[in-house]
Amino acid sequence: MRLPLITYQGLGFPLVERLLDLRTCKIRRKQLYSTTFTLIRHRWMRNIPSICAFTSKQFSTQSEKDKIDMSKFPVENIRNFSIIAHVDHGKSTLADRLLELTGAIAKTDRNKQVLDKLQVERERGITVKAQTASLFYTHQGQTYLLNLIDTPGHVDFSYEVSRSISACQGVLLIVDANQGIQAQTVANFYLAFEAHLSIIPIVNKIDLKNADPEGVETQIEKVFEIPKEDCIRISAKLGTNVERVLEEIVNRIPPPKAKTDDPFKALVFDSTFDHYRGVVASIAVFGGQVRKGDRIMSAHLGKVYEVNELGILRPDEHPTDRLLAGQVGYMIAGMKEVKEAQIGDTLFLQKHPVEPLPGFKPAKAMVFAGMYPTDQSEYNSLRSAVERLTLNDSSVTVQRDSSHALGAGWRLGFLGLLHMEVFNQRLEQEYNASVIVTTPTVPYKAILSSAKLIKEYGEKEITIINPAQFPDRSVVSEYLEPMVLGTIITPDEYIGKIMTLCQNHRAIQKNMLYIDDKRVMMKYLFPLNEVIVDFYDHLKSLSSGYGSFDYEEAGYQPADLIKMDILLNGKPVEELITVVHKDKAYSAGKALCERLKDCIPRQLFEIAVQAAIGSKIIARETIKAYRKNVLAKCYGGDITRKMKLLKKQAEGKKKMRMIGNVEVPRDAFINVLKRKDK
């Protein structure tokens, strides 16, 4: 099953180059604006002068009884915005306050991360799934419709961010007054910056004892080139100055550029699946209006639907009769499958076809991992759990896979590590599934040199997801590995250690900048493979938890990759084939052999565990033969227990994978292949 995959694409090189030298941002911005930049973005998202003539009648809260008359919100009175921040900088708390202040939710002590509905979101303090909330805000006699589109904070979820951003004209960029700018702040800033959104910097947590808003504002000025004076100091927790945020949203963020007179045209920027009502699509109306009962068509599939329900999210669904230009809401139109509401698709009236909006390109999975049920008998229930979860997370690619050792399962592709972790956590928490997840790998590429192979594959450049299918050096002119541009922000005392860590991970330093008198931002170009396993854990422990890290894709680069086999008494083990960089082969081979040695039980003969590159052995461990293996005491009272043990061993033996004459328990594969627990 291949699900529709959505994300921003083409952020690749232009962005990367740009980040290499921050000081050129402003100059480059102009170039990108007009020509080569390929971020999928819509014309109407561009900044427009925020001087608008407000002509609408005043909105009266009394009239908001059953259905809200959406025509009371002309485009000029609409603001669509997101909040972006590093984890724990207070995004969800600010959202709670904004919801309270505008009366969307009652003000109580219990409002904590109202928009974060998933258990994993609350536990990790992150947002995984974009949520939308429409707020009514009266300012200087005018009532405004403020659409808060809550976005995930991590770049792994930047496909969500960019989707949300495509429906916005501005963002609130939150920075913790204690911690200052962190790696994710930078990544998020650029996403918004690329999309030419109005950015309102907010310095949060000013109530804390060690808050240094002055210093953080200096950082913001230095890193983002936003004047200090533009920053708003708040305490989202205490509600301090939050009212001002609302004012600034109205003043600084332009209304969307859309006309009610145009034919109806809407962008699907998100969709969820509801078992009772089918697909619920989040839409941003780019022009015209849509009413309940309208017959609409999707540009992608050309299918016609009748609009059954329309409304705004406050944050709960609130049905309305129609949605008009510039507004953001939800729509239920009898779509049975998520792929019918393809994200990035354009909806229009059947009678009035329009030119479709440029869509999103599918998200590209960059981290792959095998996933298998702990117990094969749970395959079917796990399959339905994976299917249900991917319904609402279309960025996960699913490929059926099977392994002699682990049985039937899948090879799943994720946008990044956090994405993978969140997916697994949701599987476990929301579907109670018990899974084995293998060490993640990245998609390599090979430029084929053999004409025969090129013909076979139909192209010269192939992508390799499964290491077992890694083509031999002799038929390849070049291997390529995916790269990422990593941002590390750390107190300067850890620079030395972190530089060594980066070098050990084959990283190349691109840039280093003091963002204040003791904090440094470093940019490194990493092979993605080097950061997906334990890099972040090492960074955290090296920097006593102060270092932050984030990365973004940076295309592919040629690399000296080799295929490493693991042999047991000379016989290769298919499941353990690994693609490694030449420089890492020895240490990776040694580590694998050692891990395997520890989890293959002694047998009646000696076992050689070897790592090999071609015919060359690069590492070896030996599992000595058993010299004694017999229960000392076995009398009348011991028989039951002993028989149970023996039967279990015999049963286990049936499940052993035979590699030549060596019996390898499933657990050994699990221990070697599984991601190490943190």
Binding site: R602, Q603, L604, F605, K624, Y626, R627, K628, N629, V630, L631, A632, K633, C634, Y635, G636, G637, I639, T640, K642, M643, L646, K647, Q649, A650, K653, K654
Partner: protein, 446 residues
């Protein structure tokens, strides 16, 4: 016979506690002497051995996870009565007509009053045929107290002592949490040997924390100079939940590695052989043919009754018209067990019927512990339709084990080689799988 006469004389001399048992001996002997016919050898299912479990200990050994209770106020009268009642109950339900051997284990059965031992033996003799030369073993803790009661146990009818010496090093005894020292042990061996010459066994533990191959060899040699004709040697196994386990976990003690213990086992087997002790089972060695017939009957998959808290038994409950053997377990906790024996008339907590395959699996797993292995005759007793060759002969895995020199299948039967015996637990799983495969195949084809 002289021993028995001695016992009678001693009883007559005033040890009234032994009277019931001695009366039985008198009766039995007089019957024999008056030429009354001794019943013909019963069918295998009509005979069984008897295991009696004494659940109490004075002190917890650091390595022991066995079913035992440290109790200061044991109700001896009630325990005796219940052991007797349960013995009767099991003899009745099994309809066993002859008890071939009795073993008093524990716990610390040498803490039981000799009169209790006598009473149980008397009950057995009253309800079934207990041949006069039947092996009656009692486990002894070699404390001065244990030493002091040896003679009384002898008079109660015990004719074999198994002494838990464990080590001749006092420091090791302390680590193991034993409540005796090496001098106590040597005295106890000597006294037991005086009472039951040629029928004394010693238990010894190797692979102890801090032990080396050299110190083990020296200790074993010393022990062999002092002991009688039977030695059981056990590698110390760390059991979860014991004090020793925790100490090793905490790094306070270090267990010798696998290679060291394998070496210890090998050298012990060699030393014992040199000193005339023939190995007859994985952990058991005997000189002058002094094997334990009670234990051999376990390894030859004989029937046995288990009496006492937590005791296991395996027999056919003929009284209920059953034809399949059952694995039975008695209620674990002594007070509860006694209550149940009183109220329900029996102390059996769990009964599991052993099917044909399960029984054959036990025959195999237990039989291969013996040096003699599973003879064709023994196998035929349990598997009249398929001989060893039919079941195992064609398996490539079995052939592989034979090629590796670990297993022998010949005209005597199926057995481990010298090397194979030390690796039995690696040899058994493929054999069990083969047995199961053969059984399934037979089932499928008819």
């Amino acid at each position: 016979m002289g021993d028995v006469m001695l016992a009678i004389r001693k009883c007559g001399a005033g040890l009234r506690r032994c009277l019931p048992w001695s009366r039985y001996i008198l009766r039995y002997m007089s019957a024999g002497m008056t030429g009354r016919k001794i019943p013909a050898a019963p069918l295998p299912s009509e005979e069984a051995s008897l295991y009696v479990h004494w659940p109490y200990c004075l002190k917890r050994c650091s390595y022991c996870n066995f079913n035992k209770y440290i109790s200061r106020d044991v109700n001896h009268a009630e325990m005796r009565a219940c052991l007797q009642l349960e013995t009767e109950a099991l003899l009745r339900v099994s309809q066993v007509s002859r008890i071939t051997s009795v073993f008093f284990g524990g716990g610390t059965p040498s803490l039981a009053p000799p009169s209790t031992i006598a009473a149980i033996l008397e009950t057995v003799a009253r309800r079934a045929d207990l041949p006069v030369d039947a092996e009656v073993t009692l486990e002894i803790n070699p404390t001065p107290m244990g030493l002091a009661s040896l003679e009384e146990f002898r008079l109660a009818g015990v004719n074999r002592f198994s002494i838990g010496v464990q080590s001749l090093h006092d420091e090791a005894l302390r680590v193991l949490g034993r409540d005796h020292n090496s001098q106590d042990a040597l005295h106890t061996i000597a006294e037991a040997q005086r009472l039951c010459p040629g029928r004394v066994s010693v238990d010894v533990i190797f692979g102890r924390p801090g032990q080396t191959v050299e110190s083990w060899e020296a200790e074993l040699n010393e022990l062999l100079s002092a002991c009688d004709d039977h030695v059981s040697l056990y590698q110390l196994t760390l059991e979860r939940g014991t004090r020793l386990f925790k100490q090793v976990e905490a790094g306070q003690l270090t267990m010798p590695g696998d290679d060291v213990t394998a070496h210890m086992y090998e050298s012990a087997r060699r030393i014992l052989g040199k000193r005339g002790f023939l190995q007859y089972e994985v952990s058991n060695f005997a000189r002058n043919g002094a094997v334990s017939s009670h234990n051999i009957s376990y390894w030859r998959a004989g029937q046995y009754l288990g009496v006492g808290p937590g005791a296991h038994g395996r027999f056919i409950p003929h009284q209920e018209g059953a034809i399949l053997r059952e694995a039975r377990t008695q209620t674990l906790e002594p007070d509860v067990w006694m209550k149940e024996v009183r109220c329900r008339g029996h102390g059996t907590r769990r009964r599991i019927q052993l099917g044909h395959l399960a029984l054959l699996e036990e025959v195999l797993a237990m039989g291969l512990r013996l040096v003699e292995g599973v003879s064709h005759r023994l196998w035929k007793e349990f598997s009249p339709d398929a001989d060893l060759q039919q079941v195992f002969g064609r398996s490539t895995e079995v052939q592989d084990l034979q090629k590796r020199g670990l297993l022998v299948l010949d005209d005597r039967g199926l057995r481990c080689s010298w090397g194979g015996l030390a690796l039995l637990d690696s040899v058994l799983p493929p054999l069990l799988l083969q047995l199961q495969a053969y059984h399934d195949h037979q089932g499928a084809s008819g």
